[in-house]
């Protein structure tokens, strides 16, 4: 485990922003933090990034006894606001120096990250004149600069236009292979595209913690499309592993399963009843169904 969070909470005067929560982040994983607006996503991320003092709880980094683990984290705030009078290269120089990146290495890292986020051409331009997408890419660059172990991104794509969004998601996919990433979003599709783990927040409570596959398995109503040579009707109704059947035509049915593990039983039953299976397809349900289900609980 890279990070272990125990009993973390945040209370503002009377308002409880984040209820005590515990979870851990495995090294090399990509975790999406999901939840509606006001669920406490930003608060949680800011506490992890060391920008907000938690009311209770601990955040432990593997192999770091020190309380200050800001050197191990790269953070992109939700609305990055830079020193507009600096150029992109100057800002990265400033950020890298503050993170104690050795001088020689820093010059190389600045070139690398600028190339990675494709801002080399404008590196000497003032940040004040940058577009939203450029600022977001610069924000990503400053978060990566010191090669942190954990990259925390707060709503990295929600303020961007479709092109800028695709840019950032592509960059995240490339980063996944050599960095642990935790990012918040309210766009489920984005989470599904890049992440394997999901944390879900609702009203400051952690209501789901697990892999994306598990989430879909446990909460997604799994649908299977079946087509047989013989008319299919008459067999499926007897099975209690099935929640719902929808007939497309005499030979074709869409089946909603209670549990993914029971799909073999379904096929066996069909064969036993003398049906020849000519088409079997998992209708991968969207994360949205699972999300709504968990949120609704």
């Amino acid at each position: 485990m890279l990070v272990t969070v125990k009993n973390l909470s945040k209370t503002y005067k009377k308002h409880i922003a984040v209820q005590p929560m515990s979870f851990s982040i495995g090294k090399g994983r990509c975790i999406a933090l999901l939840g509606p607006n006001g669920a406490g996503k930003t608060t949680t991320l800011q506490m992890l990034a060391g920008l907000l003092v938690p009311t209770t709880g601990e955040i432990e980094f593997a192999g770091n006894m020190d309380k200050d683990h800001r050197t191990q984290i790269g953070f992109l705030p939700q609305h990055p606001s830079f020193f507009n009078w600096m150029s992109a290269a100057e800002f990265l120089q400033f950020a890298g120096e503050l993170s104690h990146v050795p001088k020689k290495q820093l010059a190389r890292r600045i070139e690398e990250t600028l190339a990675f986020v494709r801002l080399e051409d404008v590196k000497n331009k003032k940040i004040g004149g940058f577009s939203g997408g450029m600022k977001q890419r610069l924000g990503l660059a400053q978060a990566l600069l010191h090669e942190p172990e954990l990259l925390i991104l707060d709503e990295p794509v929600s303020a961007l236009d479709p092109a800028g969004r695709r840019d950032i998601l592509e960059l995240m996919k490339q980063l996944k292979s050599h960095m642990t990433i935790l990012f918040s979003t309210h766009i489920l599709h984005d989470a599904e595209q890049v992440c394997e783990d999901i944390l879900m927040l609702k009203d400051g409570n952690l209501i789901w913690n697990g892999t994306l596959a598990e989430l879909k398995q446990e909460n997604g109503a799994l649908a299977i499309k079946l087509q047989t040579k013989e008319p299919i009707e008459g067999v499926l109704e007897q099975l209690d592993i099935i929640e719902e059947v929808e007939y497309v035509d005499v030979f074709t049915a869409k089946v909603l399963m209670r549990n993914l593990a029971d799909s073999n039983e379904l096929v066996q039953t069909l064969l036993q009843h003398g049906r020849t299976l000519i088409h079997f397809e998992w209708l991968q349900d969207s994360l949205e169904d699972a999300y709504m289900k968990v949120m609704g609980k």
Binding site: Y12, T42, Q46, A49, G50, L51, L52, V53, D68, R70, T71, I73, F75, P77, Q78, H79, P80, S81, F82, F83, W85, F94, A95, E97, L98, S99, H100, Q142
Partner: protein, 260 residues
């Protein structure tokens, strides 16, 4: 220490890019040399105003060079103080409001390093502006009036500089209490004025007050020597500045949120 230097360099660069390193010294120089010039040309100015009856003779005693410099210090005490506070009212609040502060505090920077870099950088800009203005004014005074020894000029400048040391600490501290630049400037100016006012109203109880610095600096010019009370006032001003800076660091640590 390394972080302090990085942050300090950034503050200096910001001061240069925003033009503060140009406009503040110029404005202060204008305020400074206006004093000997208006003193010198007072008869002509009155004549130009033209409200005098024909044949009236204006007799204005020529002030001494020391008196002109004292008048200049008085200008610094009023317009100068206001200008200084206004020039640094948003050094913290601006970064806090925009959220740029998050980019500093997400890195291993301590509250003390951050505050100290702001303090030293602002002090540099203000003191250099003040010194440039005062030395230029002294040069003018020497040409137009009688000669004032450079040692006295420097000694009075040194004592008066402590007022700036105090002013920067107070304004930074107020900057950690309030969010709006206007509020920060207002509260700082009112606080500094009240201190000055109380010092003149209750001299008995306010011997330690930084409000006495101008009087001490004037005293050096007139008497040509370091008054016995100057030491007390200087030491108490330094102590109070350290206290306000400490309070500023303490309040900064208590910021719950460094982001937006």
């Amino acid at each position: 220490m390394r972080n302090f230097i990085i942050l300090f360099r950034k503050e200096m660069k910001e001061g240069a890019r925003s033009g503060k390193w140009v406009w503040l010294p110029i404005v202060l120089m204008v305020i400074g040399i206006s004093q000997p010039l208006t003193n010198f040309y007072m008869p002509q100015i009155l004549e130009m105003a033209g409200n005098l009856p024909e044949g009236a003779v204006i007799e204005i005693p020529m002030p001494s060079g020391e008196e002109v410099l004292i008048g200049t210090l008085s200008q610094y005490g009023t317009i100068g103080t206001l200008l200084f506070v206004l020039a640094m009212m948003n050094v913290i609040s601006h970064e806090r409001q925009t959220g740029a502060l998050a980019f500093v505090m997400m890195r291993p920077v301590s509250a003390f390093q951050y505050m100290a870099s702001k303090y030293v950088a602002q002090l540099c800009i203000l003191l250099i502006s003040l010194a440039a203005s005062y030395i230029l004014t002294w040069y003018y005074t020497n040409i137009l009036f009688d000669h004032v020894a450079w040692t006295l000029m420097l000694a009075s400048l040194a004592v008066y500089s402590l007022w700036i040391v105090f002013l920067v600490a107070v304004t930074l501290f107020v900057g950690t209490l309030l969010r709006s630049s206007g509020g920060i400037a207002g509260v700082s100016v009112v606080f500094l004025s009240v201190i000055s006012l109380l010092t003149t109203l209750l001299p008995k109880y306010m011997e330690w007050s930084p409000g006495n610095l101008r009087a001490e600096a004037s005293n050096i010019l007139l008497e040509g020597e370091w008054g016995s009370s100057a030491t007390l006032v200087s030491l108490s001003t330094l102590a109070l500045s350290v206290l306000f800076l400490g309070l500023a660091v303490y309040m900064f640590k208590k910021f719950e949120r460094f982001g937006e």
